[in-house]
């Protein structure tokens, strides 16, 4: 059955409270690691966004890969695409399994306790070791750009996660869980978006019927030549 004919299954990433894929222990470990990747401060972080639920649902199988367009239910994948995603998810499960083992072993060796019981500083030290790089330092406009590990945006191409190792995959998945549409299990109440000031859609359906619009952030009355138009000339001036 072709992709256009895939049926929508009325399931939600929130049907179950806790893990579907992870063990309770793994769930808590990933939750704790994600909380160091996007920490909670005066704004919510990965914990409040339920990033671990996002990751758990991603690893649970092909049932949560593609949300239905309106966000009510998920597409039941079929055929070659379903097989390719089954293989992809299995590969990610292996990466998470070995990554979790590494966290477990390092925490025990260095601090004699499970990762979840370590102090935030100890957890950061473990994550630094897993990543093989020092923990990123604060960005300033004077920092040379080769200091940070984040690269340029992918431009106009899809992002391929298939070649990532455990730590960069965990970092990217944490980001995805914090910022992707809540339908995938994270970004609870769209708190990820509120942290950075993205006035995103209340629902996926609202992007389909025109009810969600970004118009108020534009200068809709300006006409070309823009640089001489009064709306531009007086923009944000009292």
């Amino acid at each position: 059955m072709g992709q256009a004919e895939w049926v929508t299954v009325p399931i939600s990433t929130r049907d179950v409270d806790g893990p579907i894929y992870f063990s309770e222990e793994d769930w808590r470990t990933i939750e704790a690691a994600a909380a160091r990747i996007i920490p909670t401060d005066h704004h919510p972080g990965a914990t409040e966004a339920h990033v671990v639920r996002f990751i758990d649902r991603m690893l649970a199988g092909t049932q949560f890969v593609f949300a239905a367009a309106d966000g009510v239910g998920f597409l039941r994948m079929e055929g070659r695409e379903e097989k390719a995603w089954t293989e992809r998810i299995e590969l990610r499960r292996e990466l998470y399994r070995s990554g979790l083992n590494q966290l477990r072993e390092l925490s025990s060796e260095r601090f004699g306790s499970p990762f979840v019981d370590l102090t935030p500083e100890q957890q950061d030290a473990i994550l630094e070791q897993v990543s093989g790089e020092p923990k990123p330092t604060k960005f300033t406009f004077d920092t040379p750009e080769d200091d940070g590990q984040g690269g340029a945006p992918a431009g106009n191409q899809p992002v391929n996660e298939d070649f990532l190792s455990f730590f960069p995959l965990l970092v990217l998945n944490t980001r995805q869980g914090f910022y992707s549409d809540p339908v995938y299990g994270g970004n609870e109440n769209r708190i990820g978006w509120s942290v950075i000031g993205f006035d995103g859609p209340p629902t996926l359906a609202s992007t389909m019927d025109g009810s969600y619009t970004t118009k108020k952030y534009m200068i809709v009355d300006a006409e070309w030549p823009y640089e001489r138009h009064p709306e531009v000339l007086r923009y944000r001036r009292p």
Binding site: R80, P136, W193, Y212, A222, W224
Partner: protein
């Protein structure tokens, strides 16, 4: 594999239903011809689309899955090619017009005669187009009006003669466009509204877009963004003469003992194999899949692949490259840019398009400002990736970043090519396309100069920090695949003639961007559609005389 009765022969079978294939289908069926369209991808509808970043940008809902449809890449013949998702382009009904941002500027008059202007360039295979701007102009106008576009006629002063303006007004100005236009003016440069494949006013039964901001790389759930999916394909279907079969993968173009094409062999979604016979075959699979199909169609008569007596099939490949400078603005000093509002880009300039040899290179590109993406994929070089540093950077800069990009006008080079990988196969067991590509020195010079210039514009706009993002190689990140069945008058040096008919096989045509003799520094879709219309007219007027009645 079952054996069933093959479908009835038709006038024309068109491989692919993107920009070129759908335009041909519309023009031919409206002239009364029976056409079968075979598209290897699914027929997704607008109601399958919504503003879901993860689905479209990270989980590749409309992009080919590289596990199923890999490609390989190497720099030169001495290297072993490696599997790379080179030039991912949606393989769906509507093709690249589904995910695109809809940039539809016209080529300039000079773009048609670059060899006359520049002479022989060492290491490049520069040629003139066998047609002129004036020959294409009426078709540019037809496409702009039939397809649905927005823009301001006369605002681009580098454009050639234009017989008519745009059917709908330019899309609204975003903060990014405002910032770009004022900075360019400050530097003494000009800008104009980006001509776009969208309608901004009610037009031909379509409603203007909703400004949901999910534009570049997202198919449109409404009828604002123009795609062949919602325009030319319905037009063709409404004639009752277009039978479009999606999820149908063509593996071979068949030829008869007289050396003429008889039809194609394809597999449907159930794996059943069919032969579709036709009076003529038009290939529109894109500049990578089209030469791949020609090269796979080997026979006793055509041992080196179909239409390849010149040995030029797959050669002279150009891909553009999207490079840019990123501007980071200080939120204590600058108003938010809200890059996610509007339509990804806003405004453009042709001030650097035509050659100025004092820059140290020839040719040039249009430039245009755009956002850095939605929250998941938003990034900039040097962004801290985790911990409070990462959170701070996201919080402080997400609404205070933009970029100014170029579309590299890369030179054709004969050794840059697409052929069949000798070992890697796709999920159907067929050899995949292998890309062999090294940019010309002029490509690097042009790219470096323009990216630096874009950085100066960002500085003039008030950016606190500017980061150039230069290419190390060409990656196919524009989804523009050009030049691989070059158009020309001489059968020894080109694959298709001025009507995009192959020199070797008189009833075989290529209507996608494979025909581009040179790359241009603009997006190709408008030119693909205008040229497909022009060449389809020739089939109707001349080539179809004497065809068996279907």
């Amino acid at each position: 594999m079952k054996t069933k009765k093959n479908p009835e022969p038709v006038d024309v079978v068109i491989v692919g239903a993107g920009a070129g294939g759908a335009t041909a289908a519309k023009v031919l069926t409206e002239a009364g011809m029976r056409v079968v369209g075979l598209e290897r991808g699914p027929w997704l509808k607008p109601e399958h689309a919504s503003g879901d970043e993860l689905k479209y940008l990270n989980r590749n809902f409309i992009w080919q899955d590289p596990k199923l449809k890999p490609r390989t890449y190497r720099q030169n013949d001495q290297q072993e090619a490696v599997v790379t998702n080179f030039s991912a382009t949606p393989q769906v009904v509507g093709g690249g017009t589904t995910h695109w941002g809809g940039m539809v500027p016209r080529m300039t008059e000079n773009d048609f005669k670059l060899r006359s202007i520049h002479g022989d360039i060492e290491g490049a295979s520069l040629v003139d187009w066998p047609i002129t701007y004036d020959e294409l102009e009426p078709y540019y106008t037809r496409v702009e009006w039939e397809f649905g576009t927005s823009g301001l006629g006369g605002a681009n002063r580098w454009e050639g003669r234009r017989s008519r303006g745009y059917p709908t007004k330019p899309s609204p100005l975003s903060q990014i466009g405002r910032t770009f236009a004022t900075a360019m003016d400050k530097l003494g440069h000009s800008t104009f509204p980006m001509p776009q494949g969208m309608v901004t006013e009610p037009y031909r039964g379509r409603q203007p877009f909703s400004e949901n901001g999910f534009w570049q790389q997202y198919p449109d759930p409404g009828t604002g963004k123009s795609s062949t999916l919602i325009s030319f394909i319905p037009d063709a279907i409404n004639t009752g003469l277009y039978d479009l079969r999606s999820d149908c993968y063509v593996s071979e173009i068949l030829v008869g003992p007289d050396g003429k094409a008889t039809g194609v062999r394809y597999q449907d979604e159930d794996g059943d194999e069919w032969v579709q016979q036709a009076n003529a075959v038009i290939v529109c699979g894109g500049g990578i899949e089209t030469p791949r199909l020609l090269l796979m169609s080997k026979s006793a008569l055509f041992p080196d692949g179909l239409a390849n007596s010149s040995g030029q099939v797959g050669r002279n490949a150009t891909f553009h490259q999207y490079s840019f400078s990123v501007g980071l603005f200080d939120r204590d000093l600058t108003d938010p840019l809200y890059g996610w509002s509007g339509h990804y880009m806003s405004g453009c300039s042709f001030d650097f398009y035509e050659t100025d040899e004092s820059r140290g290179h020839i040719l040039g590109s249009l430039i245009f400002p755009s956002n850095l993406g939605h929250p998941v994929n938003w990034s900039f070089p040097g962004r801290p990736t985790w911990g409070s540093a990462a959170k701070d950077a996201d919080r402080e800069l997400f609404n205070h970043t933009m970029k100014i990009g170029i579309l590299l006008h890369d030179l054709p080079v004969e050794s840059n090519r697409v052929d069949l990988d000798p070992t890697v196969t796709d999920a159907w067991g067929l050899p995949v396309a292998r890309i062999t590509h090294t940019p010309h020195a002029n490509d690097f010079a042009q790219e470096k100069w323009q990216v630096a210039k874009n950085g100066e514009i960002l500085e003039a706009a008030g950016a606190r920090k500017v980061v150039p993002v230069n290419m190390e190689r060409i990656t196919g990140n524009t989804s523009h695949e050009l030049g691989t069945t070059r158009m020309g008058d001489d059968p020894a040096t080109s694959v298709v003639d001025r009507w995009c008919r192959t020199h070797d096989v008189p009833n075989l045509y290529v209507f996608d961007a494979s025909f581009f003799p040179t790359a241009t520094g603009i997006n190709p879709a408008l030119t693909i559609m205008a040229n497909a219309w022009r060449c389809a007219d020739q089939i109707i007027r001349v080539d179809s005389r004497g065809w068996a009645r279907r």
